[in-house]
């Protein structure tokens, strides 16, 4: 289950009605459309009338007036809101406490006790309206909330450029397919090794917590004192403890625009291995939009995970608006706070269309937050490559590393070496050119 153990996602367990019935549907209940249990619709819910039906039995033992509240909670549950039994009890208690004097009291009670995540308030409101008022005109789109749309400032231009890039990418990909398939077996082994080594190879920071140790530490007064008391006042030997080290977070941002088309598949395989191997990794894709794909990549099976990613990302092979999307990333507090103190790797060619002022701002902010900010560009695979484009030379001072991202091998080697210090990108590339 991808989303369930995901502490980062507010969208845990988010599924449509057809997906929600895995653990929720009760014995004997037909897969009815959720709105048929509307009190306002006047239609009898098509539940089984067998007396052994647990749902039916539960509703009968409730007073008639309380049934709509249980029904509403069940409706929300069917739409993937995580609601515990004790929350339903709390909801009913709250309604009783408040009177209820108006429908608004019921709404407030539901908001406070059933606790729908703030991002899904509009959806919640739509369900509330449809259930208690029978008003189904308010519809929420089942749209991926995890993506931050970036304001579109040049719609007409985009379409033309996107079309051109798609054509170009399509021609090139047929030539490179042979290359990647030839190397497939070795690449898989490499990724397996990468997954195993990753968690111990990531850069570490000192945690606030301490571990017991036999050497090199500070005196552990609590344990020492217990030892002294049990040894009748003697001090056998001092017990020590020292600060623990924990691996830093890993944040990978993948460019999925048309110009990166040849590499996205490889990058996704690599990030899948990274999510599986690292304790705390977050993966995003960006093109014209920003999409968080970490939860999809948590699936152990790679093909399934990649298929799910393919469904989540909407802007495959489109244009790039790297600056605005990175700024959008930074403006979502829970995303940008993940970047704080993390090793950030951006997989992109940094071919920014139009001005690069926003890209420069975004990279400067990102580098101020990150422990280490690296840009891996496939263009650097070419020995003649120099960071000479206006955008690249503008962001070079903010970068810790500017490395070759043309093959999985070079990338895995680089990520595994993140803990080792290296001169800044600007210093290296000045020497080269």
């Amino acid at each position: 289950m991808s989303g369930i153990n995901d502490p980062f996602s507010p969208f845990t367990g988010r599924r449509g009605p057809e997906g929600a019935d895995e653990g929720q549907r009760h014995a004997g209940q037909s897969p009815a459309p959720p709105l048929t249990c509307l009190p306002a619709s006047g239609v009898e819910p098509p539940v089984s009338t067998r007396p052994s039906d647990p749902r039916k039995r539960g509703e009968e033992s409730l007073p008639r007036a309380a049934q709509p509240f249980l029904g509403f909670a069940c409706l929300l549950r069917r739409y993937g809101f995580a609601i515990a039994p004790e929350q339903i009890t709390g909801f009913m208690q709250a309604v009783t406490l408040l009177g209820p004097r108006s429908m608004n009291d019921i709404r407030e009670a539901a908001l406070a006790t059933l606790a729908p995540p703030p991002d899904r308030h509009t959806e919640f409101e739509a369900h509330f309206q449809s259930y208690f008022y029978g008003n189904t005109s308010i519809r929420t789109e089942a749209e991926a909330d995890e993506e931050t749309r970036v304001k579109d400032d040049g719609g007409a231009d985009d379409e033309r450029i996107e079309a051109e890039q798609t054509r170009e990418g399509g021609e090139l990909s047929s030539a490179l397919e042979q290359l990647s398939s030839r190397d497939f077996q070795r690449e898989d082994d490499r990724l397996t090794a990468f997954r195993r080594q990753l968690s111990s190879a990531l850069p570490a920071r000192r945690s606030f917590r301490t571990v017991r140790t036999h050497s090199r530490g500070k005196l552990d007064l609590r344990r020492s004192l217990r030892e002294i008391v049990s040894a009748d006042g003697d001090v056998p030997f001092p017990l020590l403890r020292r600060r623990q080290t924990v691996p830093r977070k890993l944040l990978i941002l993948i460019d999925v625009s048309g110009s990166m088309k040849l590499h996205t598949a490889d990058y996704l395989k690599l990030t899948h291995a990274a999510v599986q191997g690292a304790d705390r990794a977050e993966i995003f894709t960006f093109g014209t939009r920003l999409t968080r794909i970490t939860s999809a990549l948590r699936l152990r099976d790679r093909d399934q995970a990649l298929a799910r990613v393919a469904g989540q990302v909407d802007d495959w092979d489109g244009g790039t608006r790297m600056g605005p999307t990175l700024l959008a990333f930074l403006s979502v507090p829970r995303f940008s706070s993940f970047a704080r103190g993390a090793a950030v790797v951006i997989l992109s060619d940094a071919l920014e269309r139009g001005g690069h002022a926003e890209l420069e701002t975004a990279m400067r902010r990102l580098s101020a937050r990150a422990f280490r900010l690296s840009l891996a560009t496939p263009l650097a695979g070419d020995p003649r490559f120099r960071p000479a484009t206006a955008a690249l030379s503008a962001i070079l001072p903010s970068l810790d590393d500017l490395i070759d991202g043309s093959s999985v091998g070079s990338l895995t080697d680089f990520i595994l070496s993140l803990a080792r210090p290296a001169p800044r990108a600007a210093a290296i590339w000045k020497r080269v050119s």
Binding site: T12, A84, N104, A109, A112, L225
Partner: protein, 293 residues
Amino acid sequence: MADGNVEAVATSPEAVARHLAASRYLADDSLATAIFLAIRLGKPLLLEGAPGVGKTEAAKAIAELLGRDLVRLQCYEGIDAAHALYEWNYQRQLLAIRHAGEHEIDIYDDRFLIARPLLQVLRAPEQRVLLVDEIDRSDHEFEALLLEFLSDFQISIPERGTIRATAQPIVILTSNRTRELAEALRRRCVYHWIGYPDAGREAAIIMLRAGDVAEATAQAVASAVQMIRARPLAKPPGIAEAVEWANAATILEKGGSPWPEAFRRAIGVLIKDEEDLSYIAPELGRIVEEALG
């Protein structure tokens, strides 16, 4: 006794809102309802919202409303039981052992126990309110520890046994939502999301909180801040910043700057990010004039 007191104060959401207003905190209906339910259902109250919308202030106002002391536990990455529950005063224990010589001494006596916030509240649940601030900053282990505390309201000290609360303490948790809290924690709580207030409410808050600000100024500040928040800033200004801005502009105006100029000069207390400042600077004059006009 104290329970009767609580029920006398929290008779309805409106009564709660009235008492909060007396403590200089303006809550909307939804927040007042959540607070009322938390108090009456005896569940912890979880407040989430962007930085600077008054989550901590709400907790202070609730403590004042109930006439209790606020015990604040600030969370951070790596916070552990010794900072949240209790700690032994080892130096004093060692001294006491040495001082006692041949006599018997109980080194796990109360006087060697340092009570940290959770234990403090447990010992006097009817005189204290617990605020667990910015719980999203702590790590998952601490959240689990807190979960145990919140479900049973008891702490086990190996040397002393289990300490139980005599009454259900009132607990308020706040989170900036930089990471998602565990579902188990969310579902034990009464939940409320505090958003930014609308212009009218914000003006009222500024009037209440700022020193001597004219009503027109407060309204202008509120509507200008609304407009500024609509822009894509890295750090949208919170309510506290808006209050500061109104104060600063009033002081500057008394010092001789005319109105639009005073607002422009005082912008540093409202927006505290260099890039945001340069982004908003060209538009600021227009925003302030629109808000004043």
